[in-house]
Amino acid sequence: MISKKIEFYKYIYTDFRTMTSSLPYYNYKNMNRDDCLDSRLALLHTVSPGDTVSIVRLQNTDDMKRRLTDLGFIKGTSVKCVLKTRNGAFAAYLVRDTVIALRKEDAADILVEMLW
């Protein structure tokens, strides 16, 4: 009975993933289901230059999380994307009056809330 229930949820979840992953702008890979439902949430690497967002959660590996925390990336901090390379692989963010550049992979682990 229980396993059936799990199957059911799995089904819904995968269905949801396939449905949303076709959306062009957001990358939902690192977001869980609840996050996906909130249209205001996104991952940091999808933010375009000039936009300001607020950090919701760091999902990086422990080492990187530590480093980001030391730089002032914590929950509620507002982050502005200031630069992005053409292919979007590297981008610079203004955090607490300092410009910090992050690779796409690292920025993709940071869940942010759009401020509009």
Binding site: T85, R96, T98
Partner: protein, 619 residues
């Protein structure tokens, strides 16, 4: 009796710790506008009220608890009890992030003096900091300084002295564990945020605008790379165009002196062999090294330092991250690469800024693929002699600058290729995460930069080259004049190397010069010339065009010159670099690999090129 105290100088990267250090101790620790410039702990002393204070310049850290090497060094030093007081240097323009470290250090030790540096810059940006209030809130003395203009340093010295004699006002909360719990780290940041809100008022809101514009220009998808090449080209062009005339003057001057020296030697009846050793041996090589190296370095170093102080290097790293990522290396490798342009040993040491062990090794192993300043004169001379022809003046120097830029780009491409190869074979792994700070642009202090880079860097490199050149000149002279049977030792050695060198499009003498140039790459060309001149008759070189005649008469062709340029770009690192690699990696194996990679690359490239050229030539 004088007392001696030790003071640690801590702070975030790139807040001007080294500038404060220099201003206090009167030393000339090199500074630059990019995080991670100081990788080793420098020590210096100053005296105040009959006491001697030893100041230790710690590497910059964002926090005391992360796992990188510099942070460990800084934490161990502050906690080790060796330092009586810690001066924490802060950047007034981004106080909030700096306060994070201040609060962390205050948790560990109460003997802290906070130095808010770059006050003048903050003032310009419309940032006002209430220092007395900050001091009250933190419970430690807070001194505003602007170290480049030497303001507030006296107050800092006084505050430090009284901190040592009277101790601190706040009780210390002991932390036994080295690891700060996560919540605490967040709490400290929140606390820093609170503090900042209370003490900092920003009058002009949009002070990031100018920097943002420059950043868009320097890293923009359309403008970033062209500007990078143009800047590089510009620096080389200025170096070449500017160095031409002083070089010629120096050569003329030195050979005028040489004639006088011979005359003087005749006058005091100096024996012939001694004249040979001292004048055509030692003096000749020294004169060459000085006259060829001094002018380009005296131009290149200041220009490069200006770019560095301005804050351009981190933008280069930003631009070049994509290719490095594709090669599974760290984007910060471009910073160490730029350092290698000055001196490979410095570049290798600078690799400490890369956190991941694997990526640091890649950066160390590939560093010597970038031509250092010692190799520039060789490249410069060969390019000028063989590829510019008779067109001198502005056009000629522009062409040679383009060629030199091409050579450098070849070095960068090889760096990328070898990095890729290493991460596919010896150093397998995926690119790790890293953060790169893009510091605000700062106006370099032009006069000071020029003075410092000439006196500290240029003369230092020159001194090193000269101290190696003198004995090397002696060795060459002895080899050329000591005979076994009918032939000199030099002849035997170069003949032994000749078949192999021919395969690479060079000759035995060139290879021998490269081998003898192991202590310092600067002396390769002078050694070559000496060897040629000793084996034939002595030719008086009064200007650079006669140089070409010497080379041509010894069978040089354009192909020889190209092979030489390639081999000069890719061959074993100099002895200093090798020692630094050994020190940094702590293993002989990696040092050997670091020697082997560029050597193999050079040998193969030269052989390939020569082979192709000969096949084409035979048709």
């Amino acid at each position: 009796m004088t007392d001696t105290f030790t003071i640690a100088l801590a702070g975030n990267p790139n807040v001007g710790k080294s500038t404060v250090f220099n201003a206090l101790t009167g030393m000339r620790q090199h500074t630059g506008n990019w995080p991670g410039k100081t990788v080793a702990c420098a020590k210096g002393t100053y005296t105040y009220m009959d006491s001697v204070y030893t100041l230790v310049d710690l590497p910059g850290t964002y926090s005391l608890y992360a796992h990188s090497r510099e942070e460990e060094i800084a934490r161990d030093f502050i906690l080790g009890g060796e330092a009586q007081t810690t001066i924490v240097v802060c950047d007034a323009t981004c106080l909030e992030r700096n306060l994070n470290l201040v609060l962390q250090i205050i948790r560990l030790t109460t003997r802290v003096v906070v130095c808010v540096n770059l006050c003048d810059e903050a003032k310009k940006k419309g940032i006002v900091i209430n220092l007395p209030l900050l001091s009250d809130l933190l419970g430690v003395p807070v001194i505003g300084t602007s170290a480049t203009k030497k303001k507030g340093l006296k107050d800092l010295i006084e505050a430090t002295a009284s901190m040592i004699s009277f101790g601190s006002m706040v009780p210390c909360c002991e932390i036994s564990d080295n690891h700060l719990p996560e919540d605490d780290a967040v709490n400290i940041i929140l606390q820093a945020e609170e503090l900042t809100k209370k003490v900092v008022t920003i009058k002009k809101k949009d002070y990031h605008n100018k920097d943002a514009f420059l950043d868009r220009l320097f890293t923009g998808p359309l403008t970033g790379f062209p500007i990078m090449f143009l800047l590089l080209l510009g620096v080389f062009w200025l170096t070449m165009a500017g160095a031409n005339y002083p070089s010629d003057w120096l050569i003329t001057g030195f050979f005028f002196i040489e004639d006088k020296l011979y005359a003087a030697a005749h006058l005091i009846n100096m024996p012939q062999w001694m004249q040979g050793v001292l004048i055509s041996g030692i003096y000749h090589v020294l004169a060459w090294v000085v006259s060829v190296m001094l002018p380009p370095m005296a131009i290149f170093f200041p220009l490069f330092t200006l770019l560095e102080d301005f804050g351009y290097l981190p933008r280069v790293a930003f631009n070049l991250d994509s290719p490095f990522k594709r090669c599974k290396a760290c984007g910060k490798q471009s910073l160490t690469m730029c350092m290698g342009l000055g001196c490979n040993a410095v570049g290798v040491m600078g690799c400490r800024i890369i956190d991941s062990e694997r990526e640091r090794l890649i950066a160390i192993l590939t560093n010597s693929l970038i031509p250092c300043n010692g190799r520039f004169p060789t490249l410069l001379t060969l390019i000028t002699l063989f590829f510019i022809g008779n067109s001198s003046g502005v056009f000629g120097s522009l062409v040679s600058a383009v060629l030199l830029t091409g050579v450098l780009i070849l070095g960068v491409l090889m760096t990328l290729a070898v990095s890729r190869l290493l991460s596919a074979t010896l150093l397998k792994g995926i690119p790790s995460s890293f953060t790169l700070e893009l510091p605000p642009y700062r106006k370099p202090q032009i006069g000071k930069v020029i003075l410092r880079s000439i006196f500290d860097r240029t003369l230092f490199v020159l001194g090193r080259a000269a101290s190696v050149a003198a004995p090397a000149g002696l060795v060459i002279w002895v080899m050329a004049n000591l005979k076994i049977g009918n032939q000199s030792i030099l002849f035997y050695c170069s003949n032994f190397l000749d078949p192999f060198a021919r395969l690479m499009g060079m000759d035995g003498v060139i290879l021998l010069a490269f081998i003898l140039g192991f202590p310092a790459n600067e002396i390769v060309i002078p050694l070559m010339l000496m060897a040629y001149m000793q084996s034939g008759q002595l030719i008086d070189i009064s200007n650079t065009s006669e140089l070409k005649n010497i080379l041509l008469s010894n069978g040089w062709t354009s192909l020889t010159a190209i092979s030489c340029i390639i081999f000069s770009l890719f061959h074993w690192p100099c002895s200093t670099t090798c020692l630094t690699i050994k020190k940094e990696t702590g293993s002989i194996k990696w040092t050997l690999i670091a020697i082997l990679i560029p050597t193999l690359l050079g040998v193969l490239l030269c052989m390939g090129l020569t082979g192709v050229a000969r096949v084409i030539g035979s048709f």
